[in-house]
Structure formats: structure tokens, C-alpha cells
Subunit: 346 residues, 2 copies
């Protein structure tokens, strides 16, 4: 795995949020792989999903790396931890003006706020033009939001497993995950259960049936005999929940999922000149339905943009954007041919 060539906590001052609150002393953690050209022609911004970080090569290695979709020998790839998260940028774990962490008092944040904070941090670093802004899931929402806020600053927006709003079922699923955090006896139990609920929405029956089926837990026990014993899928979920609770701040989870819920761009018109769009739906995704991804591509085409839909055919569910990166790379590379040619000669 490659290391960032630059990593900085960029202070961007106070930020007026969509909710009406002004957040003071906002910081954005930025990681950059490769060397940006002055004209921005090789600059790629990768937006992360719910639980990601600015170190994009750590969680999307097939997309960012030598010989990958974006090779840092040619491209400069930036990642930024989103506002409200817990991996370096300002969020609920950050000390509030009184000195104690915001915790549950952290205000409502929107995807619009996240992108405004990113734009300011990147501008401070001298980066204002982007050949590509790309992301999956919440990262795709941010990429679309970039197109809405700064259409002329981005050459190509790529949204994977994401579309121009968030569904009612998505809001509902986030709501029950947040409720798990609120009603559990301990924050750890709450985050674990929230993660397990979310895991189910990221995967598919086809994948689970293949991997776990109806087998009993690999560590032993017989659920047909004793109430405490587990099926293998339950052991898998317990393991995933335990891993996650060590790396997620409960209030950050509440904040970021709410930002997803609030995402809605259908009441706004795209500005021109506009980026090119590529929307990638995932065939087995039931959290971000592929028909909605297709509809978003059609919407921006109808508004006059060069906007295409491609489909990642996968049994992995929503997680396919992370679980099948080679497949995704093969799907996206043809859409980047012009950029590759320009970069090679640039």
C-alpha cells in the first residue's frame, strides 16, 4: 500500500452550516498521493463513504495505486476526512469551545457542508481544479454535490452506488441504526448493533448464502439445541461489529448517517459549464437501488450534461464498490481514456 506524499490538518476557520449553526475553528484532514500539476489537470479527489478516512489508498487500493485506476505517478489523488467524522477532521469527538468534546451537541451537518469545508481546505492548499471527483455511497453523494456547488471546477464526476438524493428506505435504515446507538446499555453495544444492521444493507442474500449458508458457527455450538448458540452468519456479524466499535465514535456515526438522510439535489439545477458524469449502479444493491442511480444519470443528461450510466453486475450488494474494485476499475477505465491520453502527453 502506498503512503500519502502529503498529509495535513488544514484549519479553514469557522463554517456556517446549512442548519444555521456556525461551527468555529474547523479543521480538514487532507491526504494527497502524487504531485499536483499547477493547472489541476492531473488532480483527482476521492470522497470516502460512511466509515472511511482521507487515506484513500488504504480502503480503495485498486482505485488508487501504481497500475490502478488512478496511478499516483501520473495523477495527484486527494482524500479528505468528512466534516463530522472521527479520522482527523472536525467532528463530535473534537473539543468544543468550552474544551470538552461536542459529543451529542454536535450540530446537524449536510453533504453540502462537507463539500464546502473540502473546497475551502483544498483552496488553501492551492487546489481549485479537479480532473475527476469520484466516490462510492456517501462518497458518491459528495461527488454529485461537488458538481452542484462547483460545476466548472470539476472535469468528471463519478458516483458509484449513489444517486442525486437518498431514499426513504435509506433514511429508515439509518434511523434504526441510530436508534441502536441511543437505546443500547453501552455505546460499544450500540455501535456494534448499528454496524450489524448496516452490514446487512451493504451485502446480499446471494453473497451470504454462498459464504455462510445455514452453517453453524465455525467456533462451535448448535443453535438447534441452545438459545445462546449461533449460526455462522451470526458469528460473522458479531466479529464485524466488534471490529467496528473500536474505530468509530458513536456520535460521528449519528452525524454522518444524518447527512446522508438529508441529501437531496433534485430541487437544484446543474450549472454550466458542467462536468461529465459517470454513474455506476450495482445490480444487487438494495440500499442504493440501481434504478435510482440510472435515473440520476438520465436526469443530468436531460439537464444537458454528458452523463452516462454503467452497471456493476455483482452479487456483493452495495459493498461491491469496495469488494469488487478490479471489476469497478474495468468498468470505469474506458470512461477515462481521454484523461489517460491527456495525462500521458501533458
Amino acid at each position: 500500500m502506498i503512503a500519502p506524499s502529503l498529509e495535513r490538518d488544514v484549519p479553514i476557520g469557522s463554517l456556517a452550516l446549512d442548519c444555521g449553526v456556525t461551527l468555529p475553528d474547523v479543521v480538514q484532514r487532507v491526504s494527497i498521493y502524487g504531485e499536483p500539476r499547477a493547472d489541476g489537470s492531473n488532480m483527482v479527489l476521492v470522497n470516502h463513504a460512511l466509515t472511511g478516512s482521507s487515506r484513500v489508498a488504504e480502503w480503495w487500493g485498486e482505485i488508487v495505486g501504481e497500475g490502478k485506476l488512478f496511478d499516483p505517478r501520473t495523477f495527484a489523488v486527494a482524500g479528505i476526512n468528512v466534516l463530522g467524522s472521527c479520522y482527523g477532521s472536525t467532528g463530535p469527538a473534537t473539543p468544543a469551545p468550552g474544551g470538552r468534546p461536542y459529543g451529542a451537541t454536535f450540530p446537524v451537518v449536510s453533504v453540502g457542508d462537507m463539500v464546502r469545508a473540502q473546497r475551502r481546505a483544498l483552496e488553501i492548499l492551492g487546489l481549485q481544479r479537479f480532473a475527476v471527483v469520484i466516490g462510492g455511497s456517501l462518497g458518491g453523494m459528495q461527488a454529485i454535490e461537488w458538481a452542484m456547488q462547483a460545476p466548472g471546477a470539476v472535469g468528471h464526476v463519478i458516483a458509484v452506488g449513489a444517486y442525486d438524493h437518498f431514499s426513504t428506505m435509506g433514511i429508515a435504515l439509518n434511523a434504526v441504526a441510530r436508534e441502536a446507538i441511543r437505546v443500547a446499555r453501552t455505546p460499544q453495544q450500540g455501535v456494534e448493533l448499528a454496524r450489524k444492521i448496516a452490514m446487512l444493507t451493504y451485502k446480499s442474500e446471494a453473497l451470504f448464502a454462498h459464504r455462510h449458508g445455514r452453517k453453524f458457527d465455525r467456533k462451535g455450538g448448535d443453535p438447534t439445541k441452545r438459545t445462546g448458540d449461533r449460526f455462522d452468519i451470526e458469528g460473522y456479524l458479531d466479529h464485524q461489529g466488534a471490529l467496528f466499535s473500536t474505530r468509530m465514535v458513536p456520535e460521528a456515526y449519528l452525524t454522518i448517517t444524518r447527512a446522508m438522510d438529508l441529501f437531496e439535489t433534485r430541487d437544484r439545477k446543474l450549472g454550466f459549464p458542467a462536468p461529465r458524469f459517470t454513474f455506476a449502479g450495482i445490480s444487487s444493491d438494495w440500499l442504493f437501488l440501481p434504478e435510482y442511480v440510472r435515473a440520476a444519470a438520465a436526469r443530468f443528461a436531460a439537464e444537458g450534461a454528458d452523463s452516462a450510466y454503467v452497471e456493476l453486475r455483482s452479487d456483493h450488494g452495495h459493498d461491491a464498490f469496495l469488494a469488487e474494485p478490479e471489476h469497478l476499475r474495468g468498468l470505469l477505465a474506458p470512461r477515462l481514456r481521454d484523461l489517460y491520453e491527456a495525462a500521458a502527453t501533458g
Copy 2:
């Protein structure tokens, strides 16, 4: 709504469960609408789903009632509260031999155990032949189990939104609902959250988008401004959770969902003479996938039974078997024409 013509708590003695435990003094709550004929030719058994009761006319009024699929002026329709539930039959709220309720010590129960208990109770009432055994969801599992245990005793098995086993995703969804009950600060909060998780698996995005969309809570508030405010879908879920927690014993929920998880008949051969089968899949059901329902119909056909698949085309998700009973009635009535003719002349 019609009232039962007979309602009895039938003591069936002790029951040796599949898990190895013998449960003493088991009682089955039985409700019957209409008058059984001595030869059983007009006898219908309706099996209930996770949260149902023996009073089938209360929750499936389009299926059981005057002028409905099964008219009690012609048919005798029996309902039985399942073993492990909390509406009259023995379950976790029942006093154990020491006098205190079983609670979390209630043993693991299988769908096989449920059906064995039903068969014994009905035999005590003189009922051993059934023209039809029908149910949706867990009720459909019981109907299939009837075919496995007593193929010669049933004329026609109808399973709606159910198939011959339970999926890995189904086990996983039940597991997170049970975990909600275990980790919540209060049993009420736990049952409410479990219900909300389950509600999402019973419905569909299409239905939610139509009914709630992205509207804010009808009682007021603005989730874009304040962290405590809700979308309409969240208010709906809160309401459903609150309703449910007043009528469900937490340990009964744990017991019955586990029985669903354990359901697997693919390792058993159907006996002959076998019932006729009708499997009804629901097009938008993602808890009981229609392709699995179709496969179960094909399996029993391959084993030599008269087994057909029909599909309820609905946006209601799994709940369509309750939410679209008129539609279901229209789908099933043609499969019952012989029975209607026999009943009219019988």
C-alpha cells in the same frame, strides 16, 4: 369481524422438543370459525405469522369471513397460537414448574415442534383431516411442515411468502432484531427497535417512497435543523414500535424468530399420498425472495406432488400477504375451485 364459534385452551400434556428438552403441561389456544364436518372435508387450518394469534379473522379478514376466500358458512376454519408465543399457548410468559415464568429460560422451539403441538391439540378436538392448511411467512413455514409431518392428512398446502427453508439474510435480520432486545436499556425499547428493524424487512422502498417520501414528520420539526427532529418515515416507525411493544413479550419474540431461523426441510423427502401445493411469492418481497418461493414449488413438483407457483405482484413487500388480501384472494381462489364445488355439493 366475525367471532370464533369455539375457542379453547387445549392441554396436550408434555412435549418432547427437537432441542432435546421436554416441555411439561403444554397448552394450545385454538379458535374455530364455522362448523367442522365429521369427514374433515370442509376443515381449513390457518397458521399465523410471527406476531399473529389464533383469531385468524382478526388479522386475515379477507381470507376468513363471509364471502371471503374461506366462508365460515361453508368451511370450518381453525387458528392456533404457536408454541412459544404469548397469545394463549405455552410460551416464555407461561409459568414454569417452579411457578415463575420461563422468560429467557424457555427452550429452543422449532417449526416442527409447533406443528406437532398443533396436531395433538386438533386431534384432541377430533380434527385429523384438513382440506387446506394455509399460512403466510412463518405461517407458510408451518403449512409446509404440516405436509412433511402429515402428508396424508392435508388436501392442499398453501404457503404465501414462504418456502421450504429460511435464508441466510433472514437469519441475519432476525439476529439483529434479537440483539436489539438483548442490548437495549429496557425491554420496551428493545422490542420497539426489533419491530422497527423487522418493519423495514416487511415493506419496500416503493411503498415507503410513495407513502412517506422525504417529507418531514407530520407532527412537525425540521431534521435539517435539529438533531432530534424526524422525517415522516421515522415518525411512522416510532408509532409502529410503540404499538407493538404493548402486545409482545420480548422472550416470545426471541423464541419465535429463532424457530424461523431453524426451518429447513430440504433434507427431508415428502411422503405420499401428498397434498396439493400452492406457493405464492410476492414480487417485492426481499425477506422471503420470490425466486426461493418458486424454487420450493419446483422442488415439490420434482418430488412428484401437484405443486404450483403463483406470484402476487405488489409493491408492499413481504407484508403484501396481509396488506393486499383481496389481491391474494383473487390469486388463490382459482386454485380452490374443486374444493368450492365439493363444499357446495357436500
